[in-house]
Amino acid sequence: MRALDWAVLLGTLAAIVGYGVWKTRGIKNVGAYMRGGSDSKWYTIGLSIMATQASAITFLSTPGQGFEDGLGFVQFYFGVPIAMVILSATIVPIYYRTRVYTAYEYLEQRFDLKTRQLTALIFLLQRGLGAGISIYAPAIILSTVLGWPLAITNLTIGALVIIYTVSGGTRAVNQTQQYQMAVMLGGMALAFVFVFSRLPASVTFGDAVDMAGVLGKMKVVDFSPSMQTRYTVWSGLTGGTFVALAYFGTDQSQVQRYLSGESLKESRLGLLFNGLVKIPMQLGILFVGVLVFVFFQFEAPPVIFNSTELTRVEQSRAAPRMTALQSEYANAFSEKSVLVNEWLEARHADDATRLASTETSLRAVEAKGKAIRARAKELVAEVNPRASPNDSDYVFLSFVMAYFPSGLVGLLLAVILCAAMSATASALNALGTTSMVDFYRRSWKPDVDNDSALRATKGFTVLWGVVAVGFAIFASQLDNLIQAVNILGSIFYGPMLGVFLVGFFFKSVRGTPVFWATLLAQALVIAVFASSDIGFLWYNVIGCGAVVVLALIFNTVMRGETRPAIPLQ
């Protein structure tokens, strides 16, 4: 990295962290600390919601997914607009009416304390781990590509987030996220323009898209009914809606964002804004990966992008096998280069017959290259079984480091670190608040005064920050990073959503039946995860459905008093 990159990177981070601390200095009221003064406008809420969801993994793994598998991953987000509408119409008004600080507070009003604290505990476990992953995931990639020590990278990201999250609470998180989101969107837009500008002059945008299509990267929607295919229209619309309902409706790191709204109207608008913008944004990020793929039709790509693992293999006894694979891969690329040029000539000459025959050959040589790459990945795993199994996570950052000009490299690194910080900040903010509201103030010290409560909330936030950094430092290798986070979420989110749905829509169901239904449904989802190959988006549907069905059954066989339901409108 050059001096200009360091200046851009450090300048951006220092400005955002400094602004967050300065703008929110002197908060003395614990309510304002946790709810941000209840004065956020819709655009702050909307950007904050988006920045919370957009972790660094979004900007590292997503272009990699575009590079490897094309645009199909966007189907995962089809449920977001639907969920935004459902939440705006149902859950958000209830949260406003019941004046809660956390989503789980509502569950005590509706059911009982044990149901509230069970769901709050599930949240703490899941989000605590999630915060660790949101630090660890970018840290491992940044360390590999840039040669930074992993522990130092983890500690730096963690420390920067802890500073402003602890200092300014919810308002600091929301305020900084606006600027972090601006850096992220601006950085990715520039990346998009730059990747395209690196293509040969004779290649038009239409050529690039068409070439990506020929090589299977433009398959956005998949209507197949397979339950095993991870991303289809159906899994996106059903499982994706359930994930989004659970994530945005019951995960305190998101609920806290829109509960900071000036009014119900601002909160609803912020959610709907997210519903409108989320899919195009994700598609744009995936498309950057597709353009990188097109770029590597003209420039020879490495057979393995994770340079650390490649070097490890090259220094092992397996080195001759890797050299052979590299040479095979280089031959396949040369063969492909000839075909790519022929294809371009045929396309520009409108020669349909030649185009069709070249496309068939191109697909065949592409499949050959993919097979060689798969064998190289197997070799990496053989030499180091703990190596990250998904080389595609390294594609985008390796590309940035190798081809981006000075200054833009620093900006793209700032994008990744801003994303890591924004997702982690929301998580720590919510973990601190939930620890305070649902456990400390509720069960341990109900008569705690304002100053002590503020100190304790800050203490909990620091504690969760330390837990997250600790988990990040000791995290073992995980499957594809973005999918690991989504799978982790899906295991817990289904039952969590089920509890809230029973609370909202089944007025006769009492606390004890729903409590036991949640525990059993959670066990069921974990059993399904451990014993079947069903796509992970379906866990949400199964977990949620199991809570609803079991709660209704238990409610008929268990005796007890029914609490009056809180009406939807």
């Binding site: 966007v74 639907i82 705006s88 608008l269 899919i279």
Partner: protein
């Protein structure tokens, strides 16, 4: 709390919700066309 306030540009929240869902339908239709044309 001004929870009953309507959204800007729309007469009611139902209109705003419908707009978001129609937007999703348009995006999905566009994606289906892109998939059909390019694969």
């Amino acid at each position: 709390m001004d929870g009953e306030d309507g959204p800007p540009f729309f007469k009611s929240w139902s209109g705003a919700y419908l707009f978001v869902l129609v937007w999703l339908a348009i995006l999905m239709a566009l994606f289906a066309v892109v998939t059909r044309v390019y694969t």
